[in-house]
Amino acid sequence: MSVKLQRLCKNLTEIFGTRVHSLTLVGGEVTLEVSAADYFDVAKTLRDHPELRFEQLMDICGVDYVTYGRTDLVDFSAGRSPRYAAVSHLLSVTHNWRLRLRVFAQDDSFPVVASVTPIWSSANWFEREAFDLFGIMFEGHDDLRRILTDYGFVGHPFRKDFPVSGYVEMRYDPEQKRVVYQPVTIEPREVTPRIIREENYGRG
C-alpha cells in the first residue's frame, strides 16, 4: 500500500511542482495543501490527469482552526490565522487511492474559496453545508443557499466562537398563539473541561 502511495506522492510533486504548499504521507493517508488561487486548477487536474484520476469527490468539510492546540483562547482574533479551511476527500476508483486536499481561505472576515461544482457534481451540497455551518463562500457556486439550519437562521453555528447552546430558542406563546423566538435561557456549562497535556505526560 505505501509503495503505491509513494508513487502517488511522486506523481503529485511532478505534476504540480511549485503549486504544492505541503504534501504529507502520514498513516497511509496523503494530504495535499494548495493555495486558494490554485485550488480550482489543481482540482481539475486531479480529476483529469491519467496518473491521478480522482473521479469521485467523497466529502468537503469546513474546518475552523482558530482554537487549534489552545484551550485558553478568549479573544478569537488572537487565534490561528488563516482560520477557515475547506478539506476535500477525493477517491480514485481507477487507481484505488485517496487524497485529502486542503485549501485555506485567506481572509478571516470574509472567507472565499473557489467552488468545485463544475468539476464534481457531488460538491454542490457539501459546499452549501460548509457555507451554512462555517460561512465559507464558494465562488462560482450557483445555488449557495443554507441547507441544514432553520429558515432565517442568523450566524454560522459550527464556528468555534458560536456557543453550543446557540443564541435563540423557540417556544409556543399561548398569548400570541404562535411559535416565537427568544434569547436562550440555558446556562452554558461544561461537564468535562478540554485539556491538552504536555508532550510526555504520563510516561514517567
Binding site: 502520514v26 498513516g27 493517508e29 494530504t31 473521479e55 469521485q56 469527490l57 467523497m58 466529502d59 468539510c61 474546518v63 475552523d64 487549534y68 492546540g69 484551550t71 478539506v87 476527500h89 476508483v93 484505488n96 485517496r98 485529502r100 464534481w120 457534481s121 457531488s122 454542490n124 451540497w125 453545508e129 443554507r146 441547507i147 441544514l148 439550519t149 432553520d150 453555528p157 459550527f158 453550543v164 461544561e190 468535562t192 478540554r194 485539556i195 491538552i196 497535556r197 505526560y201 504520563g202
Partner: protein, 417 residues
C-alpha cells in the same frame, strides 16, 4: 388558448413516504417533475458540534443515532478513526465480532429498505415479513449490548464485552401461554451464537420468500424498472457509493477494494447491477443480504473455535476489568482517569471509511491532542445520495419520486446529522 403554468407542490415534511422529515418542493408540469428541491435539516442536531464538547468515548453513542436503521455499523468508522490516530490494534476476536455485527446490521438495514420501499409503492405485505426478521435481529443486538437499537457496543480498542453465553428468554404471562413461549424460546436455548446460527439457517428461505413476492411481480417491475436511471459516469460524478454505485454497474465495495479488519480473510461476492435503475438496485440489495448471511456464518465458525480477548489491554485506551479495578490501585487510577478526563488522542487527522449498508460512511477527525475531538466530520451516505434527487427525479412522474426516495434508502438521522 389558456396559458398553462407549472405549479409547485410541497411533499412533506410529514409525508409517510418521505422516510422521515424530508420537505421536497416539486415543480410540476402536469404530473411530470420539472425540478425537485429537497429541503433538509429538519432533524439537524449538530452532532459534529456536540462531539467537539464531549470526550472521545462520550461522543461514540451519537454515532448510533445517525442512521438509526443500521446502528452498529455506524459506530465502526468512528472507532476505526480513533484507533488509527492512537495506533491501537484490535484483538482478532474483537475484529470478527465487529464484522459479524456489521453484516447483521447490513441485513437489518436492507430489510427496512426493501420493506418500506415496497410499502411505499403499494406492496403492503412486504413490510410485515421484513419486520418479522428485524425483530430477531433486534433480539441479537439486545442480547449483546443491552439495547435494541442504540447499543454503543463498539468502542475504540475493540468491543464493549464478549458475546453472552445465554439468550434472554420469553416468560409465560397473560398474553403468552406456555406453548407459545416454548415455541418462541426454541431457538434461544443455547448461547447468542447458536441463536444467530439458527437465524442464518432460516434467513435464505426468507429471502426466497421476498423474492417470490417482488422479483417477478409485474406491478413491482412496472414501478421500478427504468425509474431513476443513473449511468456509471454520473454515479461517479455524484459521489455515489454502496448499492447505488453497484446498481449502476461499478463493482466498487470497500470491503473488497480497501479491506479493513478481517474482510480480506472472508469469502463473499459483490453483486453488481446492469441498468442502474431502481429495480437493479433492489436486486443488488437482495443479493447483498444473501452474501451478508454467508459472512455471518463464517464469522460464527471462527468465533466458536477461537476464544480470546475482545478489547485491547492498553489501559490508556480501554477501561480496566471491573474485578481488577476493585482490587488494584493502578487500575483504579486508570478507571478514574478514563471516565473523568477521558483518553487523549495524539494530534493529527484521519479519514476512516467503511462500507456501510447504504454506501461509504466516513469519519474525518482532527485531533489537537486534547481529550475531545477538535473537529469531526461525518461523511454520511444518504446526504450525498439525496443531493442527486433533482437529477434523478427530473422528467419522471410524481409517483416515481416516491420510488426514487425509496431506492436511495435515505434515513434522516443520517442526512441531517
Amino acid at each position: 388558448m389558456a396559458e398553462i403554468k407549472n405549479y409547485t407542490v410541497n411533499l412533506g415534511p410529514q409525508h409517510p413516504a418521505a422516510h422521515g422529515v424530508l420537505r421536497l418542493v416539486l415543480e410540476l408540469d402536469g404530473e411530470v417533475v420539472v425540478r425537485a428541491d429537497p429541503h433538509i435539516g429538519l432533524l439537524h442536531r449538530g452532532t459534529e458540534k456536540l462531539m467537539e464538547h464531549r470526550t472521545w468515548v462520550q461522543s461514540l453513542p451519537y454515532m448510533d443515532r445517525l442512521d438509526y436503521t443500521s446502528m452498529f455499523v455506524n459506530e465502526h468508522p468512528f472507532c476505526l478513526a480513533v484507533e488509527r490516530l492512537l495506533g491501537v490494534e484490535v484483538p482478532l476476536r474483537g475484529q470478527y465480532i465487529r464484522v459479524m455485527f456489521d453484516e447483521i446490521t447490513r441485513i437489518l438495514n436492507h430489510l427496512l429498505s426493501i420493506g418500506t420501499q415496497a410499502l411505499d409503492i403499494g406492496a403492503m405485505a412486504m413490510v410485515l415479513y421484513t419486520f418479522r426478521e428485524r425483530e430477531d435481529i433486534f433480539d441479537m443486538l439486545e442480547a449483546v449490548s443491552g439495547a435494541r437499537m442504540h447499543g454503543a457496543y463498539y468502542r475504540p480498542g475493540g468491543v464493549y464485552r464478549d458475546l453472552p453465553d445465554s439468550m434472554p428468554k420469553y416468560q409465560v404471562n397473560k398474553f403468552k401461554n406456555e406453548k407459545t413461549v416454548k415455541d418462541l424460546n426454541k431457538a434461544r436455548e443455547g448461547n447468542l451464537l447458536d441463536f444467530i446460527e439458527d437465524f442464518t439457517d432460516r434467513f435464505p428461505g426468507y429471502v426466497d420468500e421476498y423474492e417470490t413476492l417482488l422479483t417477478g411481480n409485474r406491478i413491482w417491475k412496472q414501478r421500478t424498472v427504468g425509474i431513476g436511471v443513473v449511468s456509471p459516469e454520473r454515479a461517479l460524478q455524484l459521489g455515489f457509493s454502496g448499492p447505488m454505485i453497484r446498481g449502476s454497474g461499478i463493482a466498487w465495495d470497500l470491503r473488497k477494494k480497501q479491506p479493513y479488519l478481517v474482510y480480506d480473510q472472508l469469502d463473499f461476492d459483490i453483486p453488481v447491477g446492469y441498468n442502474g435503475d431502481s429495480y437493479d438496485r433492489y436486486l443488488v440489495r437482495v443479493e447483498e443480504m444473501r452474501q451478508s448471511n454467508r459472512i455471518i456464518r463464517q464469522c460464527i465458525d471462527w468465533l466458536r473455535k477461537n476464544p480470546g480477548p475482545v478489547m485491547t489491554d492498553n489501559l490508556k485506551v480501554a477501561p480496566p476489568r471491573r474485578a481488577k479495578m476493585k482490587a488494584n490501585m493502578e487500575e483504579l487510577i486508570h478507571h478514574f482517569k478514563f471516565f473523568t478526563e477521558g483518553i487523549h488522542v495524539p494530534p493529527g487527522e484521519v479519514y476512516a471509511a467503511t462500507e456501510h449498508a447504504k454506501g461509504e460512511f466516513g469519519v474525518y477527525m482532527i485531533s489537537d491532542g486534547a481529550n475531545k475531538p477538535y473537529r469531526v466530520k461525518l461523511r454520511s451516505t444518504a446526504f450525498t445520495h439525496l443531493s442527486a434527487m433533482d437529477e434523478m427525479a427530473k422528467g419522471h412522474m410524481i409517483a416515481d419520486v416516491i420510488t426514487i426516495i425509496g431506492t436511495m434508502d435515505i434515513v434522516f438521522g443520517d442526512v441531517d446529522r
